[in-house]
């Protein structure tokens, strides 16, 4: 268990490709923290620097205040699970789990005790201990890799896209083992993923990355509801946040947002009004599930047209045209009886509206 601190890390490949750019992050002791971002965002390079496979060009990495920046991987007291399960195929399940413990010079009796405790945490039946790892499916191998990694007490556990190659049912099971073991033992876990769903499922904190930098580091709930930029709002959620370009004008407590062809009137906190860009150009952001749509509407609602309406599971997914070429996605309860081609009224609840500066795309 340990607090992991990354300070001003920078990594450049081939003298020109900036993979990680002045990245700082404090990972508190006992939490699962995700590095989340699209491919090429720098999450893998960051992870490799934490593990010691890559030395930063600049910056410092500390564990519990101890500088490990230049320590080799095997001296860092970290365990790692990769995208492709790494198991000793000639060994039995038991010997796979025992190997890192034997390497640490542990007595065989103690090893057996640890494996006895770890196996049920990963749903591994004692009767299967003798089976050869070469007979296992990919999902079972990944489960073994996880059990193998968590069998040893480490400062930090690094999970690099561990669920990318397992089937959906096994993914749920493996994610549960990780959640459960962390709930009980409060390990410090760094979880690298491109999947927003996996990050939201497993993490205590998420670091959303793009172009070698951390855009936002916060709890899953805050990242989802208060994204700091249009990218973060788009990247999380299915579908992601809707964006509409508007010219904002303050009018005594309310803000008139002119979208060119439609007008939204929102009550927004006074603080917003002072921080508006000088030219008034903003992007109104709102999540599909927070928009209300009706056939009748009330005063102030935006008249619009429904382009399509399809029930997906328990909800309707609507595509709404606010003005020519201005389309938004809406997730509505199925009792909202709106069909394709209907004239509708759209309402953006004030508390769910987020305004972004149109130039910087940062939240105001």
């Amino acid at each position: 268990m340990a607090a992991l601190v990354l300070e001003n890390l920078r990594k450049v490949y081939n003298r020109s490709v900036v993979a990680v750019d002045d990245l700082s992050l404090q990972i508190p002791d006992g939490l699962i923290v995700s590095l989340l971002g699209p491919s090429g965002c720098g999450k893998t390079t960051t992870m490799r620097m934490i593990a010691g496979f890559e030395a930063p060009d600049k910056g410092r990495i500390t564990v519990n205040g101890h500088d490990i920046t230049l320590e080799p991987p095997n001296k860092r007291n970290m365990s790692m699970v990769f995208q492709f399960p790494v198991v000793y195929t000639n060994f039995s399940i038991y010997d796979n789990m025992a190997t890192p413990l034997r390497n640490a010079g542990m007595a065989e009796e103690k090893i057996r005790e640890i494996i006895q405790a770890t196996s049920p945490e990963f749903g591994i039946d004692e009767r299967s201990w003798g089976e050869k790892a070469s007979n296992l499916s990919i999902s079972e191998r990944q489960r073994l890799s996880l059990a193998h990694a968590f069998a040893v007490e480490r400062n930090v556990y690094i999970l690099d896209e561990p669920f990318s190659n397992v089937d959906p049912k096994a993914r749920v099971r493996l994610a549960r083992y990780v959640r459960q073991i962390q709930q009980v033992k409060r390990h410090t876990i760094v979880f690298v993923t491109h999947s927003q769903s996996e990050a939201l499922t497993l993490s205590d904190r998420i670091a959303v990355m793009k172009e070698g930098r951390i855009l936002q580091f916060d709890t899953p709930e805050n990242i989802y509801t208060r994204p700091v930029s249009t990218f973060v709002g788009w990247f999380l959620g299915n579908p992601g946040m809707n964006y509409v370009r508007c010219a904002a004008r303050s009018r005594g407590g309310v803000m008139a947002l002119d979208g060119g062809g439609f007008m939204a009137t929102q009550k927004v906190p006074a603080a917003y009004q002072n921080r508006l860009p000088a030219d008034g150009n903003v992007i109104l952001g709102i999540r599909p599930e927070h928009i209300s749509v009706s056939r009748t509407g009330t005063n102030g609602d935006i008249p619009a047209r429904c382009l399509f309406s399809e029930p997906v599971g328990s909800r309707l997914l609507l595509n709404i045209e606010l003005a020519p070429e201005v389309l938004i996605n809406v997730k509505a309860p199925t009792d909202v009886k709106v069909s394709k081609g209907d004239a509708v009224f759209v309402h953006f609840p004030d508390t769910h509206v987020i305004l972004f500066d149109a130039k910087t795309e940062q939240a105001i």
Partner: protein
């Protein structure tokens, strides 16, 4: 031309039956989703429609014409693949025009046709760009434009979203939907993903082991699946299935298992049941999670509720919603909860559902028996 039709089509490869006596009629202008797991025969079916495979027996009709032995290039059909099969170094114009160029049509006619199609699909401003400069959504439009330019009357889509990054898939599915609403061309779209079918289809054909299990408007397939496989597969998330038996109690017939005892409310169902095993189907969206103790009284205005008791295995966020996996006895049940929801593993919870919303299947044959109301 009036739609397309497969009549008792069987296709064997050696001893393997890829398609087994498949009949299917796609009405003109309708969008059919061919939904099934890997290896169920989806691609074989599309290839037979395209003409690149010949059925071992049975017939294929385009309108009233038997085209079973007509080669692909003589059929008014176009196929769009997962990677779109575009020429990456050619311009958008050349890609869209390629079927017309191959026919040696006059240049002016080609320009006009490509221009019109591109405008309709809102890619007219991209005509001079190279394919390698386009986004995934734009490539999708170019591939569809090329299919339309060929004067295809039928477009076949073979798992076009399958290997996409999830974020791109979500975006392309919505764009694709909006596009197809305007194009309105006879389409068959194969996919293993029920979400595609919910979102895109007029009718869904659920296929398994080379057989079409059910071919129906999607509301019908959702509400009245012909069997447990279809009920489970055409669901998002999948329907929960619980083993149970019918028992006679003082109050009448009940469905029972080790974790559940529920009344059978529907007369129509009561008369059909025998003293034997059934699979009880409950959709994840019909279950309500109670994390703070057992619900008392009505839930959502419904008095009569069935209650299950268990503990949370995992709160799994998918997109903007959460699937709560709950362990009930020896079963794992999925509950759909809107929004981002997190709860500890092992938390004790209750689930409630309306007995009218259930599905019942025969345990042995899997056949649909009835709904709760």
């Amino acid at each position: 031309m009036q739609g397309i039709k497969l009549e008792k089509v069987t296709k064997t490869y050696g001893k393997k039956r890829a398609l087994d006596n498949v009949s299917l009629e796609v009405e003109e202008g309708s969008f059919v989703c061919l939904l099934g797991p890997t290896g169920s025969g989806k691609t074989t079916l599309l290839k037979i429609l395209a003409g690149v495979e010949t059925p071992s027996s049975g017939a294929v009709y385009f309108g009233s014409t038997n085209v079973t032995l007509v080669p692909p290039n003589k059929r008014p059909v176009s196929m769009v693949f997962e990677n779109f099969a575009l020429y990456p170094n050619m311009s958008v114009f050349r890609n869209i025009a390629s079927p017309l160029l191959a026919r040696n049509l006059p240049k002016k006619d080609i320009e006009q046709k490509v221009g019109e199609t591109a405008k309709f699909l809102r890619i007219d401003r991209l005509l001079k760009r190279r394919i390698s400069q386009l986004s995934g959504g734009e490539m999708q439009r170019v591939a569809i434009a090329r299919a339309l330019c060929k004067d295809a009357k039928v477009v076949l889509f073979d798992e076009i979203f399958v290997n996409l990054d999830y974020k791109l898939r979500e975006q392309m599915r919505i764009e694709f939907k909006e596009l197809m609403e305007r194009v309105k061309i006879t389409s068959v779209f194969s996919t293993p993903d029920p979400e595609d079918a919910f979102m895109l289809a007029d009718k869904v054909a659920v296929i398994r082991d080379g057989q079409i299990r059910q071919f129906a408007p999607k509301e019908i397939a959702y509400n009245y699946p012909v069997d447990a496989f279809t009920g489970a597969y055409f669901g998002y998330p999948e329907m929960n299935l619980l083993d149970c038996i019918v028992a006679q109690r003082d109050g009448g017939l009940t469905l029972e298992s080790s974790v559940l005892q529920m009344p059978i409310l529907a007369d129509s169902l009561r008369t059909k049941l025998k003293a034997r095993s059934y699979s009880l189907g409950v959709r994840p969206e019909h279950l309500k999670l109670h994390a703070e103790g057992a619900p008392s009284g009505a839930v959502d205005g419904r008095e009569q509720q069935c209650i299950l008791e268990g503990s949370i295995l995992l709160t799994e966020v998918v997109g903007s919603d959460t699937i709560v996996h709950v362990s009930i006895g020896s079963d794992a049940i999925e509950v759909f909860t809107p929004g981002i929801y997190r709860e500890d593993v092992g938390k004790h919870v209750y689930l409630s559902f309306d007995p009218r919303k259930i599905y019942l299947f025969d345990k042995d044959s899997g056949q649909f028996v009835g709904r709760g109301a």
